[in-house]
Amino acid sequence: MSPLGLTFVGVAFDDSAAAAREWIDASDPRPTFPMLLDREHLLGELYGIYNVPTVIWIDEDDRIARSPLIAPGDDMFRDFTNVDSSVHHDQLRAWVATGALPPATEKVQVMLPTDDEQLARLERRVGAFLAREGNSDAAEPHFARAAELAPMDWTIRRGTMPLRGDDPFGEKFFAFMEEWTAAGLPGYGSADPDAPS
């Protein structure tokens, strides 16, 4: 996409450069654009990101052209979320070429930060710091509190799993998925107008 004047910036909501690097090294082709590490989930706060992978379109005037939406980079993700990445890619090409934005869709549920969400982020941040320092016992009450305050935030519910010794692809994750689905998929925004809502 770069030749068309679109610049990518990748931001990993990971706890270490090593964790991010493992995935970057395994990517084919390797990303040639800036790849950043956001251990404190600063961008989660600045852009209202509650799940990954999420893309945000930003125009030349530094305006958010399009709210955060789940946009898989390849079709492996489609099987899991039933979203077709080619729809997003076509929309991107149109935006780069003409500046045109796709019609707004009611299926995008925009989540805006609340006081509880902000506190949850702090609790996660403290827990993650303590866990990274090897103090899991001190970290755990903070992770639990974060989950209570922001139960529908994937960056908290799933994002803390590696540091809590839980498998992000295991039982606890699927239990959370059921909970999130039952709540009506809050925060789920897809580029595909035919994606499930």
Binding site: M1, G5, T7, F8, V9, G10, V11, A12, F13, D14, A20, E22, I24, M35, L36, L37, R39, E40, L42, L43, E45, L46, Y47, G48, I49, V52, P53, T54, V55, I56, W57, I58, E60, D62, R63, I64, A65, P68, A71, G73, W95, L112, P113, D115, E117, Q118, L119, R121, L122, R125, V126, F129, L130, A138, H142, R158, G159, M161, P162, P168
Partner: protein
């Protein structure tokens, strides 16, 4: 006074001078000023030309600033773990909501996985795609 940890979204963990007493974290005022830009004056808590009057008698203890009451005076969310020596202060939800609702893309500086740091605004005027991802 000991070296404790001050956590915020923009900077991550940084050392701060203070002590803990039961559940309270009491911070050295010059350390607070250095890390946050907030200075305690007779007028109240001041950041540059802006001063917030403080009527909370529990804000200071023997000249040290109580972390939780400091955040409270500024209306900011706070988490204090005195036993672990960590305090995290955040932005009010309204502060974060503002730019998002107005459609303004905030600038930021973050470490690069490959080393060094990167400032988003260094990209200049162009269309950008921010891709948030993770190994989980």
């Amino acid at each position: 006074m000991n070296v404790l940890t001050f956590l915020d979204a923009e900077h991550g963990p940084r050392p701060i001078v203070g002590t803990t007493s039961d559940d309270r974290m009491l911070l050295d005022p010059s350390s607070v000023a250095e890390l946050t830009g907030w200075v305690l004056k007779p007028e109240g808590l001041c950041h540059g030309d802006v001063c917030v009057p403080v009527r909370d008698p529990q804000l200071t203890v023997d000249g040290a600033i109580d972390a939780a009451h400091f955040a409270g005076a500024l209306g900011r969310p706070v988490v204090v773990d005195a036993a672990a020596g960590v305090v995290a202060i955040g932005e009010r939800s309204a502060e974060r909501r503002g730019p998002i609702e107005a459609g303004v893309a905030s600038d930021f500086t973050l470490p690069q996985v490959a080393g060094g740091t990167f400032t988003f605004s260094s990209l200049g005027r162009r269309k950008k795609l921010l891709l948030a991802w993770s190994s989980w």
